[in-house]
């Protein structure tokens, strides 16, 4: 879990709606047993030519992309598969948050476990962010997780939702597993009461 408190940084925009995890990280890059090198394959099919050379005009191949801390993306971001390789690769590239009008459930869950912020904003703010990036790519915004705010250059702040539990884990950089482990006694009591509903070892 990577700790996140506040961030001031530049953004890039990939406004396509329904960006699925097969676009974020194509399945052929899932044949790994660790998390190394995933950042290089982020958006691979949009980012590289058939011969493997980077497409110079694709945003992730530009200096602007490499410096950005926030990805502004179209609605229903991260739909499709449950692969955690998607948020892993987004973080490995260098992003600490994704701003969209909506996220797919599993992607959002996975991101919150890692400290990658899924920031939901309304349509108007989303549009304004895209316009700002277009007008001046060096525009920065500020994210304050404690206050749950995104502050635009004109000083306007918008609130974004996040569940209190994930928020405190991310603010403190604490893995969610610790909370589960702290309930070991209750889990043991549940098991004692209910027994196992399956036994995969019975053969």
């Amino acid at each position: 879990m990577e700790k996140f408190t506040t961030l001031n940084g530049t953004m890039i925009s990939i406004p396509t709606e329904n960006i699925d995890t097969d676009q974020i990280i194509p399945a052929r890059f899932l044949k790994v047993i660790d998390k190394n090198g995933l950042g290089d394959n982020l958006f691979s099919d949009w980012r590289y030519n058939a011969d493997g050379s980077p497409k110079p005009d694709f945003i992730l191949n530009t200096e602007q992309g490499k410096k950005a801390k926030l990805l502004v993306a179209g609605d229903n971001f991260g739909c499709g598969s449950s692969r955690e390789h998607a948020p892993w690769s987004i973080m490995a590239y260098g992003f600490r948050g994704v701003v969209s009008t909506g996220f797919a459930d599993i992607f959002r869950n996975n991101s919150l476990k890692l400290g990658l912020l899924p920031i939901v904003v309304d349509k108007d703010t989303h549009y304004q962010l895209q316009t700002l990036i277009e007008e001046d790519p060096s525009t920065t915004v500020t994210i304050d997780l404690e206050k749950q705010t995104l502050t635009l250059p004109d000083g306007r702040t918008v609130n974004f939702p996040i569940d209190g539990f994930s928020k405190s884990c991310i603010l403190n950089g604490v893995d969610q597993l610790g909370y589960l482990q702290s309930h070991a006694d209750a889990i043991a009591a549940y098991e004692a009461e209910h027994g196992s509903r399956v036994n995969t070892l019975a053969d």
């Binding site: 044949k31 179209g74 499709g80 909370y179 889990i187």
Partner: protein, 471 residues
């Protein structure tokens, strides 16, 4: 979650029975009965356990298999992809070290994780089932709360047999009436997703109900529940009934004898109570359904097989218009046209949506005495080695081979195109799988999703075909 007095939905009953701790302000600690794992999303979770010095709390509630990356070529052809080999041997090592049963390369029961769970009798009503795979929703066909999780969550379940979950809302999908000839379970779910969109179920658990759902076999119910995630819902449920119990009875790892009677008695208490209410609902008229096909690059871009491709110019919302426009460009198809008659290069019959014995029977029945078109390649990939053996016992393999189709080993295959089974750039496929995302079936490949019947009819003519003209 809304309820009417003490009336509860199926979902709510399962949820309540599995909450271990519910502290206000925090997500619930939810107990997990069955944890299925495969080679692609589990390795980093095992690494996490090792780094933290943890063990797997309940190996007897975990089942492992290999499906995503393994080749579907004959078993005597050695695997040459070093990365796939490494994932396979890593899973073997992990299962050995942590005491987890594995349906490995030499098991007769190996197969797609969502095919073998039910097949072995592991998936049962009222359970919570998770897997590092979004199509875990398949198991909801048994009235189990089943959903896909990420690798961090796999580690959580390994270590504690529990997950942290925020309670989802409920969505009733009512399908009444009778499906016409040539119309199948796949068409129900493709129709639903085309209506609510791929984000329409986000935050919800579906419960499928109504006379058309009751009439479906277990395998057909699995097809429907499988694609719940394509509508954005992590889980989709069907209340258990005698069809469910008949399917489970006598399976290898199902309860036996006294335990069976006890289990069935408990399962009978699960269906949603009279008067239970849902947060959202939609109705589908089964009588009005025809075969469905997708035209775009997500499963929500679907239409009746005789309909015409929608025109981006008629879409009001700017971003929706751009999305549709981009999809049609990728697919290289024209608005206002029908898809009927579109030339197809590959037909893929397989995946956890449609690779069970009944899917193969339906397809074999149609192709028997006919031939796969010369211009086209048809791949038939059974969902598990058990399905494959059963099909061979029934002679289905011979029917497919005589027709000119490829009869392959079990696995995910071209559903996800990790194992070399894939489209070439620009090729068109009609596929019985569940995702038509850009490049899903091979970089630059283009996918039309449809039922096994539509796929088989297309294989015969070489062009997208309305199967009703062949029945």
């Amino acid at each position: 979650m809304s309820t009417n007095g003490s009336s509860k939905t199926l979902f709510e009953k399962i949820w309540n029975q599995h909450v271990v701790v519910a502290e206000s302000g925090n997500p619930a600690v939810l107990y997990i009965d069955l944890h299925l794992i495969h080679e692609v999303t589990s390795p980093q979770a095992f690494t996490g356990l090792r780094e933290k010095g943890l063990t797997v709390r309940r190996p007897s509630q975990v089942m492992a298999t290999m499906d995503h990356g393994i080749p579907t070529t004959p078993p005597d052809i050695p695997i040459t992809d070093q990365m796939v080999l490494r994932q396979i041997s890593q899973l073997e090592k992990n299962c050995e070290e942590f005491g987890i049963p594995l349906q490995g390369m030499h098991s007769d029961h190996r197969g797609i994780v969502h095919v073998i769970g039910p097949e072995l009798g592991l998936t049962q009503p009222g359970m919570t089932v998770v897997c590092g795979d979004s199509h875990t929703s398949t198991h909801g066909a048994f009235g189990a709360l089943a959903f896909g999780i990420g690798t961090s969550e796999i580690e959580h379940v390994f270590a504690t047999q529990c997950l942290l979950q925020v309670k989802p809302k409920t969505y009733a999908i009512k399908v009444d009436g009778t499906l016409g000839n040539g119309v199948s379970a796949k068409d129900i779910i493709l129709n639903l997703i085309s209506r609510i969109g791929i984000g329409g179920g986000t935050g919800y658990v579906f419960e499928y109900m109504g006379s058309a759902i009751r009439a479906l076999s277990m395998e057909e119910r699995m097809t429907v529940c499988n694609m719940s995630i394509e509508g954005g819902a992590r889980a989709g449920l069907v209340a258990p009934d005698n069809i469910t119990y008949d399917y489970i009875a006598g399976r290898k790892l199902a309860p036996q004898d006294e335990a069976w009677d006890k289990a069935v008695a408990q399962w009978r208490t699960l269906p949603s109570d009279e008067g239970a209410t849902f947060d959202q609902e939609i109705t589908i008229d089964a009588d009005a359904l025809g075969p469905m096909i997708t035209y775009g690059t997500n499963p929500g871009m679907g239409m009746g097989i005789t309909d015409t491709i929608p025109d981006p110019d008629s879409v009001k919302d700017v971003s929706e218009r751009q999305t549709l426009d981009k999809a049609l460009k990728y697919m290289d198809i024209q608005p206002g046209q029908q898809l009927l008659g579109q030339d197809i290069d590959v037909v893929f019959l397989g995946s956890c949506t449609n690779s069970r014995i009944s899917d193969l029977r339906v397809a074999a029945n149609l192709i028997k005495g006919r031939k796969v078109a010369d211009s086209l390649r048809m791949m038939v990939v059974p969902g598990s080695q058990d399905v494959k053996n059963q099909a061979e016992n029934e002679g289905l393999d011979v029917i497919f081979k005589e027709a000119g189709a490829e009869w392959r080993e079990a696995g995910c295959s071209m559903c996800i195109a990790m194992n070399g089974d894939q489209l070439s750039p620009g090729q068109y496929a009609v596929s019985t799988s569940n995702r038509n995302f850009e490049g899903r079936q091979g970089k630059g490949g283009r996918t039309f999703l449809a039922s096994p019947l539509t796929a088989t009819a297309t294989a015969i003519t070489g062009k997208i075909t309305d199967v009703r003209t062949m029945l």
